[in-house]
Point group: C2
Chain length 323, copies 2
Amino acid sequence: MSDVSIGIDVGGTKALALIVARDGRVLGEVKSKTPHDARHAAGEATAAVLTDQIEQLAKMHGLKVASVPVGIGLPGLMRRDGHLAFAPNLQSASGADLGALLGVALGSSKVFCENDANCAALAEHEWGAGRGIEDFVMVTLGTGIGGGVIADGQLVRGRSGFAGEIGHMVVQAHGAPCLCGGHGCWERYASGGGLGRLTREAALEGRLATLVSRRGNPEDVTAEDVTAAAAEGLEEALTLVREVGWWLALGLSNLAAILDCGHFVIGGGLSSASDLVLPFAREYLVDLVEGYDARPTITVTTSMFGPRSGAMGAALVAFERNS
Amino acid sequence: MSDVSIGIDVGGTKALALIVARDGRVLGEVKSKTPHDARHAAGEATAAVLTDQIEQLAKMHGLKVASVPVGIGLPGLMRRDGHLAFAPNLQSASGADLGALLGVALGSSKVFCENDANCAALAEHEWGAGRGIEDFVMVTLGTGIGGGVIADGQLVRGRSGFAGEIGHMVVQAHGAPCLCGGHGCWERYASGGGLGRLTREAALEGRLATLVSRRGNPEDVTAEDVTAAAAEGLEEALTLVREVGWWLALGLSNLAAILDCGHFVIGGGLSSASDLVLPFAREYLVDLVEGYDARPTITVTTSMFGPRSGAMGAALVAFERNS
């Protein structure tokens, strides 16, 4: 068994690599831009960047690359065999077997891949905001919504390893179009991208008059304008944030109905807006969850490790599968 | 270990009691009307009917009542401790501890309660249409929609035992009102009750002209009229059945995204209409499931035991918890 492992969270814009001790302490970090170079074979450009990160971290700690277990968290449908089957936000690597590419590049048999939000769920369950909780869902709010489901203490992986694609649960039949090809997916309403979409819609419909007058043009009002103005108490911005809180609660209620999870851990890039959104979401849950009064309290907290959850979980996957 | 057990499925209208061998063979059956007598303490009238059924079955097979393990499948939120916490379709027993009531009445310590759709999932997994399949969802279409989730070969029960309330997943925000107090629940669109609602709506909007002219009044057209006419090939009825198939597929797609289940077993009282609805549902799944082409085929079949799944599963619960 290795004392340390490397975990990398590959997002649509950047890749965060951490070297982590068995007890969850982070010993070192390397950040890189995610390449979207699709000229070469699928995943090659990504594999080159990750190889470089791994070599840097190993060198810093005086370790041989092939001796350190490595976990990779990837966005999209991650097959149990390490194949990235479908990745709308990382199309240059879609279809690639990154585990195999990295194994060859590093001369290592210790590279393990998992879905990024599943990694985050595992990290929060082992060391963070889901510690000791047997039934919870990790919800990562970014451009989209990712998820990792812990049921009876175990990660639900599903038949092919694709479980937890909660952002593509349809909550509004025939609703807003989604990158996945569907309509009305939850992530079109409750993610960072959803807030952006709702912001444009509200600005064009005249529901953000103050912000539009500040920017001069409805098209120029951003989600960041809304969260900043809401934090200052601007009513029209708070109304929109409240709306996002309602949509967030709607999806959480669906998950509570299906899974009877008593706890949600909210992470991802929208976490910064979470302080504003979560109080509204908690308030709406009471109305939206079926039989709310018959259930023990359902809690919603922010992730303990914020943007590091995914990489920490990838490191945990490396520890577990290497043992 | 007992060679036989008794399983009872308590529905909103009738209670089906079966005596079952360890290999799933049904050795005897008693059907009764479910009482809705709310004058006495919660669950007392129900407990009296079930006690009578159990005594009949035990007597038929020359067994002492206290020696036979008994499983009860109940509709609604069933707590792990046997308490029926919330049961909109069995309000006279809502809040009751039926396991304790029956234990006293029978002088038995072998009474075990579980949610009815969870029971159905367990029976289909052990003996039926889910045999050998590690990730599937049992979907019972009746007045509402019940569900039982099998993930990695295990029933997902959730924190309190309430998992599988899939009918109350909202698929249409701000949609049709539901008995649970919510709006837009899946069961308002894809169950027997959903078909009835869509039928009334279509009849009043003039989309069922032939059926309305047969009945003389839009209000009098029933869901049964629609399924009968659809079976005969009447286009307006087929259009409505196709619509229900779409809604069914929508909810199944959500479950596939969240759980990555590769298989669905459809049971419950609407099973009779399943032959009409399922081909449409299978067709729509291809469009509705995120990344459909990246996944192995998703299959949808009818339950092997039809209306008996719930009671058989209750008997299975009795075997397992008594061992």
